[in-house]
């Protein structure tokens, strides 16, 4: 399946794009998505240990399963306020 991951803040700056399209074999988890993102986009490596993933509007863990319809976003720890 193909997942189009939205990128924000420093994740977007490192990738140089606000989306990253990732190909994954099913079934897939967030952990596998992150590995694949790193492979496709090595500059994200420096942020990888801190990178957060949201599926829909909820924070996901590496074990969270993904399907093709999921809205997926990746970003660094939040710093609003």
């Amino acid at each position: 399946m193909r997942i189009s991951v939205r990128l924000f803040a420093r994740a977007r700056d490192l990738a140089g794009a606000d989306r990253l399209d990732v190909q994954l074999s099913e079934p897939a988890t967030v952990g596998q998505l992150k590995e694949q993102m790193h492979e496709q986009c090595p500059p994200l490596g420096s942020l990888l240990p801190q990178l957060l993933v949201a599926v829909g509007t909820d924070y996901a863990t590496d074990e969270t399963p993904l399907d093709e319809t999921a809205d997926v976003a990746c970003f660094p720890p939040v710093s609003g306020g």
Binding site: A9, A54, T57, D71, A73, P76, P77, V78, S79, G81
Partner: protein, 142 residues
């Protein structure tokens, strides 16, 4: 009421929204752009959000405040875009019958907002460099 905005935050209107004869206490918190951070001088901040998720998380916190304290009204607004020194980046207003609850609920809302709402700020230092801010005041190494 929760909201993201690119306009100046009107804290007077926000406070009026939560005032009520049922509430004896109103607490308003404003986060404003501070000049000095660990000895370095900021000239401006840029805020960006993942807007759909930010609104969803703000709605969750709003509901949680009502579940945990006897809140009469609550309002949360976060500003996005380019902010100058002294500008208001975030405002939380809470009214409750009694002040202990209003302080606790207000504190809860701003503390949790800073932990879970997907908003990021970028420092514009006075030497012309920019830098994404890491939570806890640290910075993500460039």
């Amino acid at each position: 009421m929760v909201r993201l905005t690119h306009e100046s935050i009107d804290f007077t209107a926000l406070t009026e929204q939560v005032r009520s004869p049922q509430a004896g206490a109103v607490v308003l918190f404003l986060g404003t752009v501070r000049e000095m951070t660990d000895g370095r001088r900021t000239v401006a901040l840029d805020y960006e959000a993942y807007p759909e998720m930010a609104v969803a998380k703000m709605e969750e916190l709003h509901a949680e405040a009502f579940a945990r304290w006897p809140v009469t009204h609550a309002a949360i607004v976060h500003r996005l875009g380019h902010l100058e020194l002294g500008d208001i980046s975030v405002a939380v207003a809470v009214s409750c019958p009694h002040r202990t609850d209003a302080f606790e609920a207000g504190r809860f809302l701003i503390d949790r907002l800073k932990e879970v709402v997907p908003v990021w700020k970028q420092e514009n230092w006075d030497d012309g460099t920019t830098e994404w801010v890491h939570p806890d005041g640290g910075l993500i190494a460039e």
